[in-house]
Symmetry: C2
Subunit: 244 residues, 2 copies
Amino acid sequence: MTLMDIDIEKALHYLQSGDKYLPNLSLDCVIFGFHHNQLKVLLLKFKNLDFWALPGGHILKDEDIEVAALRVLAERTGLTNIFLEQFSVFGNLHREVKSFMHKVLEINQLQAPLDCWLFQRFVSIGYYALVDFSKVNPQPDTFSEVCDWVSLADLPELAFDHSEIIQKALETLRASLDKKLVGFNLLPTTFTMSELHKLYETILGTPLRRNNFQRKMLSLGILERLEKKFTGAANKAPYLYKFK
Amino acid sequence: MTLMDIDIEKALHYLQSGDKYLPNLSLDCVIFGFHHNQLKVLLLKFKNLDFWALPGGHILKDEDIEVAALRVLAERTGLTNIFLEQFSVFGNLHREVKSFMHKVLEINQLQAPLDCWLFQRFVSIGYYALVDFSKVNPQPDTFSEVCDWVSLADLPELAFDHSEIIQKALETLRASLDKKLVGFNLLPTTFTMSELHKLYETILGTPLRRNNFQRKMLSLGILERLEKKFTGAANKAPYLYKFK
DNA sequence: GCAAAAGTGTTCTCAATACACCCATGA
DNA sequence: TCATGGGTGTATTGAGAACACTTTTGC
């Protein structure tokens, strides 16, 4: 097995940068996107390990926690101005961060003292973000070889307790969909009713009657109807809408 | 002005116990109770200062965060087995914990080094708890002279950002009332429909039709009707109910 | 003309609302 | 017998579900 190189200098710098951040605290971002009628999350694959993980990070000592989350999001997606919401804190004693970190360092042949800050207990603040899939430019970090979208229906093996975190994020998203109308953050600025319909069906995991869905959405008074969109398909051209 | 004494030994011990806890992390508990048709929260009044605050605490290095919250609740109420839910994290850079701590120590003539752990930045995890008012036995802590119920409609001046925390807790409670049926945790094991009705009206802040409310509750199938309760009042005796 | 998908109309159902009425209780 | 609050009956309303139908588009 050949190993992927990691940037040793960057890695060592990271291992020694514990005093920049609030200790014992981390944050994990569940970044949702919608593409090809599938709900996806942006994940990182560790170099030389068959584990994926959520984009995450730490909070600078003089940084708002929300600003820290936005910073992490910007680093992984290239985007600013992202819809973002805190949804839960994961503070179990047995989150098993330490053993994963050991694996990551070992496989990459990095030495770290036993009292390295990364082996501490971490209480993690969970954020979920909704982005326009087409605008994202995924960027791996030092310890990951890939940063890519993964379908929620087909998640790989995840490190830490990140499966649980994604599950909880999804539940929060579902609950907020009707109540706070957050779904539009997953679409481009203009979209067809059919696209919105598919989005709702996918997130909620249940079929919704096309015609009733349309009436419901229109009755909310939050959509502005624009020109028609001619796709070349042999059917009536749908209107484009934008969110008011 | 005469000062209330504080237990110097306990206070000093507390000032030096920073290494027991996860640094930069705290938790605040919004404990709701219902009494005399009013929604109340349990607050502490600082000794020799005109500020009140939420019961709070820190997380031991080898303690689950939820266990820590239950420990704080037990210390202030004498109760175990409390309904408890995490609702938000407060991590603003400018929470201004430090200046309040200075005031508290100064007025009580306690010396603390400038690098004392209490002057750190704190990210605080907010929990709300619902308790049976009649079962609570409020216990002040070292730095407080009073631990008592305060009506939400009549809050005193609060330390830190505790007003904001209470507000957010109330919003969460309102949203959870119908969805998760958590309200019963605020009542004794048996109660009349009228009591439940008043509870809902008080929490939601809106009048609810008595008869429709009754039908709605009964139709949920979560109440068990028990014997009648004869109060001595000149009217039909209401049934007692208990939550299934 | 035809298939495919978009858009709208109409009925039905059920729960929430609003109103009315009867019942038990103690003074 | 009366006032008071508890409990139930019933008509009305409105939102959502289920059905049908018309319209537009490219082949």
